[in-house]
Symmetry: C2
Subunit: 159 residues, 2 copies
């Protein structure tokens, strides 16, 4: 493996770790709710009247999981379910005022966290940093479609 490729690995691993995706009770931004709950709030804040199915697709979760997730949030008074006027099978999800306030707080906490990071970056580096991040993201997504390096077989038995 080349030297730069190892450097890239080390730096990206450090970045991911530094982000702190570990604790399931607290979002990376320090708000005390689970990651699924936070994502739900953000999805619904972006656009209300999503159906549960749409939410499931967005969160990449099974519909039964989403059904229970939504029940919990309904129980906490963060959202309400309405049955869709146009399709009797569907349920439309809509944040309550409380849910909207929480979504706003969450967004603010996230923004504050990133603003903190931004101010810790020297002024004259910022532009280069943003450009570099774009390059990395693009490189990762083009690498993702090529799975040739991934082995699937052999020796992972006993699971």
């Amino acid at each position: 493996m080349s030297e730069t490729s190892r450097d890239l690995q080390d730096h990206l691993v450090a970045l991911i770790r530094g982000f702190g995706l570990h604790n399931p009770d607290v979002t990376p931004c320090g708000v005390p709710m689970s990651v699924s709950e936070a994502h739900t709030l953000m999805e619904l804040a972006d656009r209300e009247d999503r159906t549960q199915r749409e939410l499931a697709v967005a969160l990449q979760l099974e519909k039964s999981t989403v059904s229970r997730l939504v029940s919990n949030l309904e129980g906490k008074g963060w959202l309400v379910r309405r049955s869709s006027p146009s399709d009797g099978r569907s349920v439309l999800l809509c944040l309550t005022n409380k849910g909207q306030r929480l979504a706003a707080k969450l967004a603010a906490a996230r923004a504050a966290k990133f603003a903190q990071v931004a101010t810790a970056i020297p002024e004259d580096e910022l532009k280069a940093v943003l450009r570099a991040l774009e390059v990395v993201v693009r490189a990762m997504s083009s690498a993702k479609s090529d799975n040739s390096a991934i082995q699937k077989n052999e020796e992972y038995e006993n699971r």
Copy 2:
């Protein structure tokens, strides 16, 4: 919030998502084992004869969780437990040949993944990208120690 701070947020979120920390059955590098298992393998490959306690500290998991995790891996034949000659309470963990082979595969898969990303980055950008990642990591760790932006109280009731 400033424009650059929002850009930073968007790019970092895209990077984290792109990394794909979602599926608990497959590591981000495509190896079919849980993230805890992969981390255990990597920790023990770095240095054998760790105790369970040391492993628990490294993985940030409770000792009972580690006890069961280690039992599983022992059952799969990836490692063995030996009682410590110097401290009768402690258990020393040691990868089997099979465990070492898996650790090596895992390391190789990770390296391959990053090498793929590295080759997708234009030659003339690579140096700037590495430099930028260092800057971001440093900025994140200095921002982490300041938690003033995190609110803890209010309105998260009913959990």
